[in-house]
């Protein structure tokens, strides 16, 4: 008897691979040609390498590349190391439990909104210094310190660590379910190891493969981030991704060619960095083998533990206060240095902001809901196919096959810098005359929504105890009924959670929205970016808070709905 169905469900991975592959490859082609000096519309018809020469001789390009590498890699390494330390020292303690609770609201804060709040917090005229001025510092006027927009990109790197940390923790929490944490800890303790050592020597090496792709995505994101880099990064020269965007928008059309070359180079930097991390991983395996098996039972100093604890508190603190400062600004009429709070308050900006953002909010909601819904169908379809595929292999006595290709295609939009392929896609859509259609916009969001949904759902989905569905099928119910009556309802909470993440990702999309939407669609995020190109922080704060609020509603629903639906089924609420 067949306990699963494989044939028809193959359509999901094929669909995903086909469409993702085609979209991104054609996008890359649209960037490759201009980088080779081929862009007939502005009169460049002869393929040559001159563009690359222009790119590498652009003033300040070396610094720009170095800043990109420094801030991107510091942030990526920082967040990975810190997440490992954090689980090692804090798994299961009070701080960990707090994180579990606040993870979803923190995750839903859009990058730009966080950057705006964070920037206002740490600036020399920012809230932190206002709190102690002029009382403690004697500053009547703000000090001239390069804390924000520092030339090396340190403030950008710190902000990236704070923002990526909850994401990696979320992935970790999902993956932890697949490891036998308690049993391993128990066994390790019985052998005389400290808890921290068990984590570092046994659990983290086993955890890493589950996080690998997410870590690659973090590297790619940190190296190619635009919105946070504009707000917090250095300005002359800016990081590469910002420079590329400036070139794309330069009035001098020939800069489009340099922008194309630059964005391919950025992709190259990402690929190299990912390779580097892979090499580090391999050599770490090699080097640490003897350390892992040396049998020594060290204990860690308490100071180490308190540093990790302190940093964890800092991350929560900065994230929260960055949002609070936005709330204060949104209610401000006038607020000058060194006042701790605004001198004059007003509700005017909320009144105006709520009215003018009504349509954009509707567009955002529809697009986000649709993208997350389709994303959910595709994610479940692919996962279901995958789970069955593996079961069949095992049952037929074949070696376990991980069906890896699917994941690489799925993760492509996260690994290739947005700017590298979105411009090419824009051209493609215009040629096909579907630019500016809502369906194209939704599709472009789906490219980024799907991988994140997949990341968030796959661990729990794969860990589902298939004996439950097997039992139901043995009792004679068809596969589809079992899927919809048993499996999916039992997975309702993680499914809704993944839906919320997908929605949040859609809300945050800026570049796809302006490139594919042809100016026909204004979302709350395009509103935020537009108003942030001006000077009015009060209006910026209002839009940023609305932007932050939308995903939070969906997250809240994801938490509350299972409680309501399963109010009388305690076991289903988990």
């Amino acid at each position: 008897m067949r306990l699963s169905r494989q044939g028809t469900s193959r359509i999901f991975p094929v669909f995903v691979i086909g469409l993702f592959g085609i979209t991104i490859l054609s996008g890359l082609l649209g960037t490759l040609l201009p980088s080779m000096n081929y862009l007939p519309v502005i009169g460049h018809k002869h393929v040559s390498l001159s563009v690359w020469f222009d790119f590498f001789s652009y003033p300040g390009i070396k610094t720009s590349i170095l800043v990109t590498l420094f801030s991107g890699l510091t942030a990526s390494f920082g967040v990975v190391i810190f997440v490992f330390l954090f689980i090692t020292f804090s798994y299961g303690n009070a701080l960990w439990k707090i994180f579990e609770k606040i993870l979803s609201p923190v995750l839903s804060i859009p990058h730009a909104a966080f950057a705006i709040g964070f920037g206002f917090l740490i600036a020399p005229s920012g809230w932190l210094i206002r709190m102690v001025s002029p009382g403690l510092t004697g500053f009547v006027y703000p000090p001239d310190w390069s804390i924000l927009n520092d030339p090396a990109g340190i403030s950008l790197a710190i902000a990236l660590v704070i923002k990526e940390f909850p994401f990696l923790i979320m992935v970790t929490m999902g993956a932890l379910g697949q490891l036998d944490i308690e049993k391993t800890l128990l066994a390790g303790r019985a052998l005389g190891y400290k808890k921290e050592q068990i984590w570092l020597k046994i659990l983290i090496p086993r955890l890493y493969p589950h996080l690998r792709l997410s870590i690659f995505a973090i590297i790619a994101y940190s190296l190619s981030v635009v919105d946070m880099a504009i707000i917090l990064g250095p300005s002359s020269p800016p990081p590469l991704a910002v420079l590329i965007l400036k070139w794309f928008n330069d009035p001098d059309m020939s800069f489009k060619l340099i922008a194309a070359a630059g964005s391919l180079f950025l992709f190259f930097v990402v690929v190299l960095s990912v390779l580097l991390v892979y090499l580090i991983e391999r050599s770490a395996c090699f080097v640490s083998e003897s350390w892992i098996t040396n049998g020594k039972r060290h204990s860690f100093s308490a100071r180490f533990k308190s540093i990790v604890f302190f940093m964890g508190v800092c991350i929560i603190g900065f994230t929260m206060v960055s949002s609070v400062v936005l709330v204060v600004w949104s209610l401000t009429w006038q607020w000058r240095f060194p006042d701790f709070l605004p001198a004059v308050w007003t509700l005017k900006f909320w009144a105006k902001g709520l009215v003018s953002s009504f349509d954009p909010v509707m567009t955002t909601m529809f697009t986000g809901m649709a993208a997350a819904f389709i994303g959910l169908i595709l994610t479940i379809g692919c996962l279901e196919h995958d789970v069955n595929f593996q079961t069949n292999h095992i049952m037929q006595g074949k070696a376990q096959n991980n069906n890896k290709t699917l994941y690489y295609f799925l993760y492509l939009p996260l690994l290739v810098p947005q700017i590298t392929f979105m411009a090419g896609i824009q051209l493609l859509l215009v040629i096909m005359k579907i630019d500016g259609y809502w369906i194209a916009l939704m599709w472009s969001h789906l490219l980024f929504v799907l991988p994140y949904m997949f990341i968030s759902l796959s661990a729990t989905y794969r860990a589902f105890d298939r004996r439950l569905t097997d039992q139901a099928m043995l009792l004679g119910r068809p596969y589809m009924i079992v899927l919809f009556r048993i499996k999916l309802p039992m997975l309702l909470r993680p499914i809704l959670f993944s839906f919320a993440i997908g929605f949040a990702v859609s809300v945050a999309q800026y570049i796809p929205t302006i490139l594919v939407g042809a100016g026909r669609f204004s979302t709350i995020t395009t509103q935020v970016v537009n108003i942030a190109s001006g000077s009015d922080r009060r209006a910026i704060a209002v839009y940023a808070l609305i932007q932050q609020f939308l995903p939070m509603i969906i997250y809240a629903l994801a938490i509350i709905l299972p409680k309501i639906l399963y109010y009388n089924k305690k076991g289903m609420q988990v």
């Binding site: 862009l39 007939p40 519309v41 502005i42 652009y58 003033p59 300040g60 600036a123 020399p124 005229s125 006027y141 703000p142 001239d144 390069s146 520092d150 504009i230 250095p234 300005s235 002359s236 020269p237 400036k246 794309f248 928008n249 330069d250 009035p251 001098d252 059309m253 489009k256 009429w333 006038q334 000058r336 240095f337 004059v344 007003t346 105006k352 003018s356 824009q426 051209l427 215009v430 040629i431 005359k433 630019d435 500016g436 302006i514 042809a518 100016g519 026909r520 204004s522 509103q527 970016v529 537009n530 108003i531 942030a532 190109s533 001006g534 000077s535 009015d536 922080r537 009060r538 209006a539």
Partner: protein, 398 residues
């Protein structure tokens, strides 16, 4: 008698012209009715967004033209999109019907044939434009406009300073250096190649160059070094005393407004002579901020609206552009409580109710009188922009 006859002939011809003119415009208005105009314009300022919303409401009511303000963070995005549409051979139904544009973006669009063609002469309100005293309505960054864009507002480089920490403001670039030495870290200018930063550099060059006539002609590489040497020497001397010691530059003049409000800097720049008054009016700046210009005068120019080659709502776009030129819309725009953007019209040509509209515009608390603002300096020849930006980046963006 002969003269009378001649005049009669002239009058007949003229009225024939104006009748043809009116007829053509009537056709445009008829065609415009029911069209939807996607007006792509920078959306970073709430007062400006609200003004555009007001103007859209009026043309919807009066002419049945629906105007949608597509807000852009950078109009370069929009130029890129039109270029992509051209590359894809999209000859009609383009995504943009009208756009807010000037300077280098206009040049790029004109050179790459992304503009629809001459149209501003067809607008009935165009004859009110002050083409005599405001030369920049005809030459956008020295590029002949050729009626390919319709003037919308005037701009002039002004300095904003906070009178609380600064008792006496500088009157020239050299004064500004003295000020910076006395108040280290309290002045800066936006990074190049941003347009505000470039304007500041052009102004400095104008004040420092020995042969200012060289600025009016296309740049000659051989002279560039000699002509710009005083500028780089000046900047080399200035930068150590700038905000963040000249290692970090603000990304835009908008960001400088916030810095001024935060007291991080004491002197800021703007391209709108009314921006201080407008910002005081809406709480963005304290009412101790005032405006000044250098005694040599400052650079001024005009901003426009243009129609892309593949717009399918050209008539609607023209109706809207014409309304933006009307005394009613221009006077409202000039009001510092609304936006405070100076008019492109010659108010001398107005009479009666229309003139009263302008007379009623209040003068902002921090606005200079037209006399104080004086005649604007012309933009240097457009070829200077790229050369200056490139050299600046080479020197200060390492």
């Amino acid at each position: 008698m002969k003269n009378f006859f001649l005049i009669l002939v002239w009058l007949t011809i003229l009225s024939g012209f104006s009748q043809a003119f009116a007829q053509e415009w009537g056709e445009i208005e008829t065609a415009a009715e029911g069209q939807t105009v996607y007006f792509n314009a920078w959306g970073g300022s709430q007062p400006i967004n609200e003004y555009i919303a007001w103007a859209s409401g009026v043309v919807q009511k009066r002419y049945g033209v629906r105007v949608i303000h597509v807000k852009a963070a950078d109009i370069g995005d929009v130029v890129s999109r039109i270029l992509v549409e051209k590359a894809a051979k999209k000859q009609k139904d383009g995504s943009v019907d009208l756009m807010w544009i000037n300077g280098e973006n206009f040049r790029a669009m004109k050179e790459n044939k992304l503009l629809y063609g001459p149209f501003s002469q067809k607008l009935p309100n165009y004859h009110l434009v002050d083409t005599k005293n405001k030369k920049t309505v005809l030459y956008d960054f020295t590029i002949p406009v050729d009626n390919m864009e319709s003037p919308w507002g005037m701009a002039q480089l002004v300095f904003l300073y906070d009178t609380k920490p600064v008792s006496e403001h500088p009157k020239s670039m050299l004064d500004l250096l003295v000020f910076a030495r006395k108040n280290p870290g309290r002045f800066t200018y936006p990074a190049l190649p941003g347009f505000h930063g470039t304007t500041f550099i052009k102004q400095a060059l104008f004040e420092l160059i020995s042969d200012s006539k060289a600025l009016n002609r296309p740049i000659r590489q051989s002279e560039f070094e000699k002509n710009t040497r005083p500028l780089w020497e000046y900047l080399d001397a200035l930068h150590p005393f700038l905000w963040r010691k000249g290692k970090v530059f603000p990304s835009s003049a908008s960001q400088m407004l916030s810095l001024l409000n935060d007291n991080e800097i004491f002197i800021s720049i703007s391209f709108n002579p009314n921006s201080a008054s407008n910002a005081i009016e809406n709480g963005e700046l304290p009412n101790t901020v005032r405006t000044y210009i250098h005694t040599s005068g400052t650079i001024g120019n005009t901003h426009f609206v243009g129609i892309p080659f593949n717009s399918s709502a050209r008539q609607g776009a023209m109706v809207f552009a014409n309304f933006l030129l009307s005394p009613e819309a221009q006077a409202r725009k000039a009001d510092p409580e609304i936006w405070g953007d100076p008019t492109v019209l010659d108010t001398q040509k107005l009479a009666g109710r229309e003139k009263a509209l302008f007379d009623a515009v209040p003068k902002g608390i921090a606005t200079l009188t037209p006399k104080e603002l004086g005649q604007t300096l012309p933009e240097p020849h457009v070829s200077w922009v790229q050369a200056l930006e490139k050299e600046w980046l080479k020197r200060y963006s390492k």
